[in-house]
């Protein structure tokens, strides 16, 4: 019975949220916040594989998100919609409902292949040098997309809304919300199974002592390759979901700022803590959304006490001061993050009575 508590709970949450969205008890804004939470959970847990469990210092996660976003979107638009650039739909739009998860996986696979780009330099470099290489990889990916005119280049790419309409034409349920939730739970599920297996513990051994790992028969190069590919593949899936939530993607939204958000989420949650990454992704999404209201409120307050001149208004751009500031304060006062490297079951041992994982 204990084995079924968590799956039942997750199924119940998914069912309730999808039902309430379908009946429009929760409005589109709250639905989008939930979906962004899901995407951020996938991003921070996948990033935690290389930056947390393996102790590397990669900085270019948003690049792989971009690869997944573009590949999934282009494939979907080509296959299921009539597009000006790509021509008529190659498959009947009714099939979009069944094939959507597979195109997401294709985007993830493409991102995993791009992950090899940073995996191979990681064999010989660590820390600062790997950071430089991964930042460069992020820029390379963005610039490549900007230069491909067929998928819109700097103007961005759209058409994903038509794919979603094709899906709701077949069965009228909020598909993108459902798929985000399924893939979020699935991601946390497989990452947990990965790091609790002896196979996955190899990457923790690499972090703590790479020489000892090598001598104790861990094939460090292969372990690094697998970890990077898994991490970037999952980021690609997050990117594909992100693209379909928005309906429009632009290469600049996957730049160094997005990578910084991923860094904040991982270090806020705690390196090497899966529950930490989930918690910090949720908190971070809520923080970003609340800044939408808090910044205008701060603006009014500061004008009221005459701290700001009348002509200056605090715009949303100030969140890009606040987010990196969080990172700095975090590193200064609590560098291990919210959870350190412990899991929720280490902090609340009584929870272990209610569930059991294989």
């Amino acid at each position: 019975m204990r084995k079924l508590t968590v799956p039942t709970l997750l199924l119940a949450i998914t069912g309730v949220i999808v039902f309430m969205s379908h009946q429009e008890y929760i409005d589109l804004y709250i639905q989008s916040v939930i979906m962004f939470m899901g995407v951020n959970i996938i991003l921070s847990t996948s990033f935690n594989i290389v930056n947390g469990y393996m102790g590397e210092f990669a900085c270019g996660h948003a690049g792989f998100m971009a690869v997944g976003a573009y590949v999934t979107s282009v494939v979907n638009v080509m296959l299921f919609t009539d597009d000006k650039v790509f021509g008529a739909a190659l498959l009947p739009p009714e099939t979009a409902v069944y094939l959507f998860p597979f195109t997401l996986l294709i985007g993830g696979a493409a991102a995993a292949v791009a992950g090899v780009l940073v995996a191979i330099p990681s064999f010989k470099t660590r820390d600062d040098y790997l950071a430089i290489i991964t930042i460069a990889a992020n820029f390379i990916i963005i610039s490549t997309i900007i230069n491909i005119d067929k998928i819109g280049g700097a103007r961005g790419f759209m058409g994903m809304k038509k794919v979603l309409f094709a899906m709701t034409d077949s069965y009228d349920i909020p598909w993108i919300l459902l798929w985000v939730m399924i893939f979020t739970f699935g991601t946390v599920f497989i990452i947990r199974r990965y790091v609790t297996s002896t196979y996955g513990k190899g990457i923790i051994a690499i972090k703590q002592d790479e020489v000892a790992a090598e001598i104790m028969s861990v094939n460090t190069n292969r372990m690094k390759l697998v970890a990077f590919m898994l991490s970037s593949g999952l980021a690609g899936i997050a990117g594909g979901l992100f693209a379909h939530i928005l309906g429009y993607i632009n290469p600049n939204s996957f730049g160094i700022l997005k990578s910084t958000e991923c860094l904040v989420m991982v270090y806020l949650g705690g390196m090497g803590s899966l529950s930490g990454s989930v918690i910090s992704a949720i908190l971070f999404t809520l923080l970003l959304e609340s800044l939408r209201f808090i910044i205008p409120w701060m603006d009014t307050a500061m004008h009221y006490i005459n701290l700001l001149p009348d002509s200056y208004e605090l715009s949303q751009v100030w969140k890009w001061v606040i987010i990196p500031l969080i990172l700095i304060l975090l590193m200064q006062f609590r560098p291990e993050g919210i959870m350190g490297n412990r899991e929720l079951s280490d902090v609340f041992p009584k929870l272990k009575k209610f569930y059991s994982f294989k």
Binding site: Y194, S197, T198, G200, K201, Q208, A212, I215, M216, S217
Partner: protein, 255 residues
Amino acid sequence: MSLLQIQNMTKTFGGLCAVSDFSISIEGNELMALIGPNGAGKTTVFNLVSGFYSPTEGSLVFKGKSLAGLKPHQVTALGIARTFQNIRLWHDMTVLENIQISQHYNLGYNLVDAFLRTRRYMGNEKRIADRGYEILEALDLRQFAEEMPKNLPYGLQRRVEIARALSISPALLLLDEPAAGLNSSDVNDLIKLIGWIHKEFKIAIWMIEHQMDVVMSLCSWIKVVDFGVTIAEGTPEQIQNNPDVIKAYLGDENI
């Protein structure tokens, strides 16, 4: 055919010759020592055997297979286990996990099995866990299975590291200064432990050591190096009375 056959091995780093014309032949079930002053090149020899460096010249053959060009994890999979001068355990994982990870050379399952928790995964993980408990049991460490090595006293950490090396069922065990940092009672325990391992597991043990009581009481054959060059080899009695060795390393009352 000997277990490990090294012939005329030389290693130079740029202009520095760390190991020069080194030859040795280790049969199965021997207990041998490599001694010499600091900087003589002893750990370099071990690193060459382990696969961290490749020899500039010479041949390295283990169980008939050449070790040249193999990476350390491949050398380990062939049956050579090693401990380090400064204990290289993974301090933020339990003792049992330390032992389990050294089974990476024959996990028996792949990543997809780990995702799906297939029967192949569960069977192999059980085998790996059982092997871990078996080794801990044999070395009287069972009660520390869930401890972190950083919480254990140094002598126990050394024993855990040796247990980890034994868990890969090696034919040859390389011990790099196993007695380093141990007090005299721990050293006596270590001598008993190594002697017991040698009899019980019937493996060849080759050690680097500075503490002469460990070397003289355990080893049947000793090789002495200084500045990368072999200056003597023989039984403990021959080495103790060899004037070159006394001058270079063991010490003379007249000095």
